[in-house]
């Protein structure tokens, strides 16, 4: 625990020194969360808005994103500020990946096993990338119970690393969305409710990026 505090202090000092002396480098913003919360849909909307092209493919079947996807030089204009960043879409983090869930979705057994193998490699990569991101959005499905092991583990790791974080409560277009339940679950974090699918309240994403990049 003492080592954890020293590490956090060191991370803050290093960030401050880099801010003062280092050459301007592109901030890396990571999208993290459990599978099927809409991270890639969110990433696609940001990339479409800013670059005119999408980042990755989306699907109803979990673990569609199985490798870490990057898009550099995304520029967002906010008031008089020009925000330049790299967007990192990560595979959904899960503690278990069962190929039979893909078979139930219509994949053949061999395709399902291959998807499971790729998904496990993707999750391991996503966890490793926590050491390289500067800002993280935890993307959560606002229709589902917010307290789960994955969300708690991700937020805990972001906290010990001193990484600025906000929670994106996605799928606000659905009738079963429970925004207040999510906000009450994690009161120490800024939470914004959006729909990556319809674009509802998407301005709040860019406002939050500007705040976290200060």
């Amino acid at each position: 625990m003492v080592i954890g505090h020293i590490r956090r202090f060191y991370a803050h000092v290093r960030a401050l020194v880099e801010k003062i002396f280092a050459r301007r480098r592109e901030i890396k913003i990571g999208l993290y969360g459990p599978p099927n919360t809409g991270k890639t849909t969110l990433a696609n909307r940001i990339c479409k808005d800013c670059l005119g092209e999408e980042l990755g493919t989306v699907s109803e079947i979990e673990h569609e994103t199985r490798t870490v996807q990057l898009k550099e030089k995304i520029k967002v204009q906010r008031a008089s500020r020009s925000l330049l960043f790299t967007l990192i879409d990560t595979p959904g983090i899960a503690t278990k990946i069962d190929y039979e869930q893909f078979v139930k979705r219509g994949l053949t057994k061999s395709d399902a096993k291959e998807r499971a193998r790729e998904a496990t490699r993707g999750v391991i990569d996503a966890i490793r990338w926590l050491d390289d991101v500067d800002i993280v959005f935890l993307v959560v499905d606002v229709t589902k119970a917010p307290i789960n092991q994955v969300n708690v583990t991700i937020l805990g790791n972001l906290e010990v690393r001193g990484i600025p974080t906000a929670i994106i409560a996605n799928k606000m277009d659905l009738k079963t969305a429970k925004f207040h339940r999510l906000r009450a679950a994690f009161p120490q974090h800024k939470t914004i409710g959006v729909s990556a699918k319809t674009g509802k309240n998407f301005e709040a994403v860019y406002e939050t990026i500007a705040e976290l990049m200060k």
């Binding site: 625990m1 954890g4 278990k96 708690v152």
Partner: protein, 113 residues
């Protein structure tokens, strides 16, 4: 079905032991650790368990029972804080076993005083 509980004391909670305990998880073993894992340990556990995913093993489920602070004085709380010991129990099981317990809750009963 006979369930086995494997206890791991908090003094043995390090990356090496966490990785080794995954080999103890089978169809009927739950590992119980007498502390709350740190976020880094949780992330390490997830990574190591996913490396072992195969046809027979699809991963783990784990959860923590928080027991709160025992310290009654400020000094005691500071010592607890600095030592990093967080009172709690962490339970880890293979996802297939946890699914069985969810369907048949009476398989596992834990009484704490």
């Amino acid at each position: 079905m006979r369930l086995k509980l494997h206890f791991l004391p908090r003094e043995e909670v390090d990356s090496e032991h966490l990785s080794a305990l995954l080999s103890k998880l089978g169809d009927n073993t739950i590992v119980v650790i007498d502390t709350k894992l740190t976020p880094q340990q949780e992330a390490h556990l997830i990574k190591e368990s996913l490396k072992r995913v195969s046809g027979d093993f699809s991963g783990i489920e784990f959860g923590t029972l928080h027991l709160g602070s025992r310290a009654k004085t400020v000094k005691g709380r500071v010592v607890e804080f600095l030592s990093g010991h967080q009172r709690g129990l962490t339970l880890i099981g293979s996802s297939s076993l946890i699914e069985k317990i969810e369907h048949h809750p009476r398989l596992l009963q834990l009484h704490l005083r």
